[in-house]
Amino acid sequence: MDYVTPTTAMEASKALAQDGAFALAGGTDLLVKLKTKFVSPSVIVDIKQVPKIMSIENSTDGWWIGAAVPCAEISEHESLRQDWPGLVESLSLIGSTQIQGRATLGGNLCNASPAADSVPALIAAYGTCIISGQSGDREEPIENIVTSPGVTVLEKGEFILGFKLPKPESGTGDAYLRLIPRSEMDIAIVGAGTSVSVDKDKKITSIRVALGAIAPTQIILDGLEDLFIGKEPNENSINKLISIAESACRPIKDKRGTVEYRTKIAGVLAKRTLTIAYKRAINH
């Protein structure tokens, strides 16, 4: 098994185009798979020296978060936390302090787990990612990346360079919650990311709710616009949100939760994240 440290995106793409090549960013998933012999790479491509992949930038266009920036560093970014608190909370939940010191958004997305904490929050924040490959860069919405558990749209030689988030317009709030059995260190049984924007009358102008761990990939709830746009949330619309969330679930039963449990919790977390996001939006 070789180990290479390319210093340009092109070199990285070429290295990753080799048979059996695996990208290494924070390594919190890859090293576990190596240890348990789940994968046997021919070459490990450490992409952390590629330009821009380790940087966080705030411009008038919005936010850039390099794909290999450790979560601990992202959480320390105060102005990002002010703009997208739900997203920062989501990535602060991944693993322990130690895991945070290494884990990355790029890895969390490309590991393609339905339970990835940052992904529903990134989707709710209308995030996109820049995919680098031998033929250049392309931009894709986050929700288009994962196609099934463990599988992404990335082609041979491609890797995620970083993430773009819009600068939130005033009156925007987001939130992420997950359900785990303990207080820390677990994989989400259900995760929910929600963002809403409101006008000066506190009426909702946009809403997005993304759920994780309740289907093979993260899903965006449909049909929320009619319920919420132009209105304040009320008991009736929130109850409908709960049933939309529940009926969108296509979960599996596994060691972490039953179908019934996941379905029920999806509704609870959709409701709770909307409540938090709405409160943040009217105070933003």
Partner: protein
């Protein structure tokens, strides 16, 4: 011994009861302490294990020829390298073991009986080669149906794990084999009569899941057998002498050929009381004539060491309206794992032991299933049976409208109570812990929304057993202690404290070490809460013998008779004469050469008279009724320690036991798929409590001295894991108005109960 106890209790204690630094503290905080995996030897090989992928299969053949030819492979072993034994049970702590089963558990013989069962082991020049060799071993199996749960295993058409297993303890003796290894029964009086006198009877069935001790240090050892058959074994164990005896039997060594040195031990809780890797490493080393190091990875620890039983239990209690219990009855069905030996005996013995009952019965069944063979886990068997009983007691308290502590006080066992398992109890602290609980501010503190309070008590016997230790007085007046029970939680400190108290010399001048198996007589293991009690007894005895010798030497130097010398505060003192004359320990030691040579003493005995330890815990929980999540808001553990030698480490046992119990109650469980494979073989999904899961664990140490120990020690390690299971279940039941009867109380299970009843 009673007289000496009196002397001690009347004397003001200077060291015992204080909180000095532990002798191994600096080594442990600097990373210097050497644990099982931390030692290496020149020319060392790496040993790895081939494990069964099947839950139940006949082994048709094992062909190691290809693996043997791989470059770098130095030895391969299978069951052919181990002795076979007839069925014979020998006690091992609170557990019983059978050499016929141990040899089969260490290395599968006719069948594999669980996923992870050892089939072969390889020693090679490095880990990669060893792993490749394992892949080249060709095993042919005849896969058999498997069974995982006791209620399936006891059915007449269940797959049989052992086709010669006839249930013991049933009259008449069954004529056909089954998975039920034995039936045990304990009790007093007439249970049916007792129930007929009751105003209220509550009965309920409970389920608990298999859980693991979860020590953070995986099993590890390093064996070196020389060409002449002399063996050195370094390993992480609760009992190096027990390891020596198991290994010598399994491999045909004599005891003197194997010297076992216990490493520092990274947690055991009962799980490091039997052998897994040790005989394999010795056999591989004997075959290769090179040192062999073996370590389990975390998944192997979960699949292939010895967790404790999951169980199905039934409890029935009858009570008068005034709270007086008229009868208690229970049936306990415990998983043994692949070989018999579930801790159902002790479970049945202590189920009702906190109470003074005239009519009581506990029946237990030891049932084999295709899971790893259970080992001891902190109060083996006790948490399960007492969870059921303490839950029913709480339900009764609610139904008759009585405070749950008052109900327990009304029925509490006390000195003179005949225990359900036979003996008349000596002084015990059930009433004292209940009263301490009732008067604790926690018990009357206000509760928040969605919160409720639960209480439960726990009883554990504690044990003594064979013990040997020695003391040497060095010529500069310092002291060496050699102990035979590995120090898991600060016992070197408590032993040095007791020696210091007796001798009257500062603890810093006393150096306690854990000796190897050649340095002392046989020591039973650190377990059964016995180390401070048993080793402490021998330390006090040998120290007193050393003091007698020191007095003799002083008498010689003063040329007086021995009865003219007494020992006070680290000095010999001449009793007669007008002016006080004293000689320090150091002064006597310096002249030891002139007065008869080195001064040392040892004490080897089979220590008896362990005192049961009672505990009562109070817990406040908060239940999120939308998600089923239970959080522990406040926790108080109260326990009778007899006497706390080092109160900080007694508190530590209570806190650690309570949090292990919290884990058992809330989230820990072995999860199997339908192929009999364990699905949660890591700490990610085998969810032991993390730091943010728990609050501070408040403690109250009650001291009702055990008359059979020089300082009154009972042993404290095991009792604190018992009450949390029921205390938490009771609190959740009170918070939700639903009676919970299944562990763990994980969010999916709690919510399902709230939704469906």
């Amino acid at each position: 011994m009673n007289d000496m106890t009196q002397t001690n209790l009347e004397r003001a204690l200077k060291i015992v009861g204080s909180r000095p630094a532990r002798p191994d503290g600096v080594d442990k905080v600097t990373g210097r302490a050497l644990f099982g995996a931390d030692k290496s030897l020149p020319n060392m090989l790496v040993g790895r294990v081939l494990r069964s992928p099947y839950a139940h299969a006949k082994i048709i053949s094992i062909d190691t020829s290809k693996a043997e030819k791989l470059e770098g492979v130095k030895a391969i072993i299978t069951s052919a390298d181990f002795e076979d034994f007839p069925s014979e049970f020998v006690p091992n702590g609170e557990m019983v073991v059978n050499m016929k089963d141990i040899t089969r558990n260490v290395m599968a013989r006719e069948k594999v009986l669980y996923v992870g069962h050892t089939l072969a082991a390889v020693a090679a020049t490095d880990e990669d080669v060893a792993e490749k060799a394992l892949a080249l071993i060709d095993v042919k199996y005849d896969v058999l149906p498997h069974v995982l749960e006791v209620e399936d295993a006891e059915k007449s058409d269940a797959p049989l794990l052992h086709d010669d297993m006839i249930t013991i303890g049933v009259e008449p003796m069954p004529t056909s084999a089954s998975n039920v290894a034995k039936r045990v029964e304990f009790g007093l009086g007439d249970v049916e009569k007792g129930f007929s006198e009751a105003d209220l009877i509550v009965e309920r069935e409970f389920t608990t899941q298999q859980v693991h001790q979860g020590y953070i240090e995986p099993h590890a050892c390093l064996a070196s057998v020389s060409e002449d058959g002399q063996a050195e074994l370094w390993c992480t164990t609760q009992g190096p002498f027990v390891v020596r005896n198991f290994c010598s039997k399994l491999l045909g060594f004599n005891a003197a050929q194997i010297r076992v040195t216990a490493s520092e031990i990274g947690g055991g809780f009962g799980g490091k009381t039997v052998v897994y890797l040790e005989p394999l490493a010795l056999a591989l080393s004997r075959k290769s004539c090179r040192p062999v190091k073996m370590e389990m990875n975390r998944a192997e620890v979960f699949t292939s060491s010895g967790p404790t039983s999951g169980a199905k239990i039934w409890v029935k209690i009858g009570v008068k309206n005034n709270g007086k219990i008229t009868a208690g009855d229970c049936v306990l069905k415990y998983q043994a794992g692949a070989f018999q030996g579930a801790p159902v005996g002790p479970g049945a013995m202590c189920a009702f032991a906190p109470y003074d009952l005239k009519n009581v019965r506990a029946v237990g069944f030891d049932i084999v299933v295709n899971r790893p063979k259970v080992a001891a886990y902190r109060a083996p068997g006790g948490p399960i049976s007492e969870y059921g009983v303490e839950s029913v007691i709480d339900e009764i308290a609610m139904k008759i409208g009585m405070d749950p502590i008052d109900l327990r006080l009304k029925n509490a066992a006390k000195e003179g109570t005949v225990a359900p398992y036979g003996p008349k109890l000596g002084p015990i602290g059930m009433i004292e812990t209940l009263e301490a609980a009732k008067s604790h501010p926690h018990y009357s503190a206000p509760l928040g929304a969605n919160q409720a309070r639960g209480v439960a008590s726990g009883f554990w016997f504690n044990i003594g057993g064979e013990t040997s230790s020695s003391i040497t007085i060095n010529e500069d007046g310092t002291v060496g202690l050699t102990l035979g029970t590995p120090d898991i939680g600060g016992s070197r400190a408590s032993m040095a404290m007791m020696a210091s108290e007796e001798l009257g010399v500062p603890m810093e001048l006393i150096k306690p070490i854990i000796g190897d198996t050649n340095s002392l007589g046989f020591n039973f293991l650190t377990g059964g809460s016995r180390a401070t009690f048993s080793t402490g007894t021998t330390v006090v005895e040998s120290t007193r013998e050393a003091i007698e010798e020191l007095k003799k030497r002083a008498a010689l130097l003063w040329e007086v008779s021995l009865d003219q010398v007494e020992w006070v505060d680290g000095h010999a003192r001449l009793i007669s004469g007008n002016e006080p004359k004293t000689m320090s320990l150091a002064q006597i030691a310096k002249q030891a050469g002139k007065t008869g040579g080195p001064i040392m003493a040892n004490c080897s005995m089979n220590v008896t008279g362990a005192g049961p330890s009672l505990g009562t815990h109070i817990v406040d929980v908060e239940v999120d009724e939308e998600t089923g999540q239970v959080s522990i808001v406040r926790y108080t553990a109260i326990q009778d320690a007899g006497k706390a030698i080092h109160p900080a480490y007694v508190e530590g046992q209570m806190q650690g036991g309570a949090v292990q119990g919290i884990g058992w109650a809330l989230n820990e469980e072995y999860i199997y798929n339908d192929k009999g494979e364990l699905e949660n073989t890591g700490f990610l999904d085998y969810r032991i409590p993390v730091c943010s899961d728990v609050p501070m664990i408040d403690t109250v140490i009650v001291e009702v001295p055990n008359p059979n120990h020089p300082y009154g020690v009972r042993g404290v390690g095991e009792t604190p894991i018992i009450p949390p299971l029921a205390a938490i279940s009771n609190a959740v039941s009170r918070a939700t108005n639903k009676r919970f009867d299944e562990l763990p109380l994980s969010p999916p299970k709690v919510l399902a109960k709230l939704m469906h009843g």
